[in-house]
Amino acid sequence: MHNRIILEASEGMMLTDGKGYYVRVSLGDWDSPDNYREVPKEEYEKMLDADAEVDTNDD
């Protein structure tokens, strides 16, 4: 059995590796907790709103 490190975002927070936002990550053998930081969920939601605005304008 491969023992993985599991990272869970705290209440009201998300984990990010700079590429995406997650509530939980099961780390592969190459991965490290240092690759992730916690950010407030608001930051994630602002990013989604910004994305939606780009979509509206983009066509």
Partner: protein, 248 residues
């Protein structure tokens, strides 16, 4: 006008009158006319079946279920970005093509970027992306898309937001090897069978890669394959230890 021409005109006039007065003849005439127009349009648009570049070719909301009725195989070769961008034909494209004995041939594509962006298709047929490389936003915001019959890929295909906004996606099947990070978190209705297929096609030699799924994926999977099966097939699967699994 000589007598022969007058006679021809008179006969034509009578024939038109007969055709108009006899419904079945009239209808056949109308249908024949429609078919002639259909053949003429699609023959020109698809170059008699030889066309293989459709950059923005089927793009736009003007394409609907009523008029998106290709006559020939749709052959996409090389770059065909935005081929179906915002195509509003909310149809099962796979079923349509099957009914006409046609195919969508993507095997020659060298990029699959944004080809189905914002299209309304509900189901797509087999897609061969073995040579496509980039699958940047391939199915971006295909919010009606429920099923992709098959996606053929190699370990080289790159998935940057490939399934962005595919909120209705339930069934997807891969053939080949998924060798780069891939994200399905927008597809919260993805089936257990889809997850099993995805997991079974993850490149066992890949490292530095992440499979991102909706937070409900383990529950969906376990409901189908038994309690603990998601953990068994992902975290505890030594064959894919190079993969991180993220839940969003």
């Amino acid at each position: 006008m000589d007598n022969l021409e007058k006679l021809q005109d008179a006969i034509s006039g009578h024939l038109v009158e007969i055709a108009t007065r006899i419904p079945s003849v009239h209808e056949e005439g109308v249908e024949e006319g429609k078919k002639t127009e259909y053949d003429a349009f699609w023959g020109a648009f698809q170059d008699g079946g030889k066309r293989n570049k459709y950059i923005y070719g089927f793009a736009g909301s003007g394409w609907t279920a009523d008029n998106f009725k290709p006559k020939y195989d749709i052959i996409l070769s090389g770059n065909n970005n935005f081929a179906f961008n915002s195509n509003a034909a909310r149809i099962d494209l796979a079923a349509y093509l099957e009914s006409k004995n046609l195919k969508l041939d993507t095997s020659g594509m060298t990029s699959a970027s944004e080809i189905f962006r914002l299209s309304a298709f509900t189901r797509l047929p087999k897609l061969d992306f073995n040579k496509a490389g980039s699958m940047y936003f391939t199915f971006r915001e295909c919010s009606n898309l429920h099923t992709i019959d098959e996606i053929n890929v190699t370990a080289s295909n790159a998935y940057n937001n490939t399934f962005y906004g595919c909120t209705s996606l339930v069934e997807v099947r891969f053939n080949g090897t998924i060798g780069n990070s891939i994200d399905f978190h927008w597809s919260t209705g993805l089936s257990a069978e889809s997850y099993k297929n995805i997991i079974n096609h993850l490149d066992s030699t890949a490292t530095g890669v992440t499979l991102t799924v909706p937070t409900n994926a383990p529950a969906v999977y376990d409901a189908k394959y038994g309690s603990g099966s998601w953990k068994r097939d992902t975290d505890d699967n030594i064959n894919i230890k190079g993969w991180s699994f993220a839940y969003a």
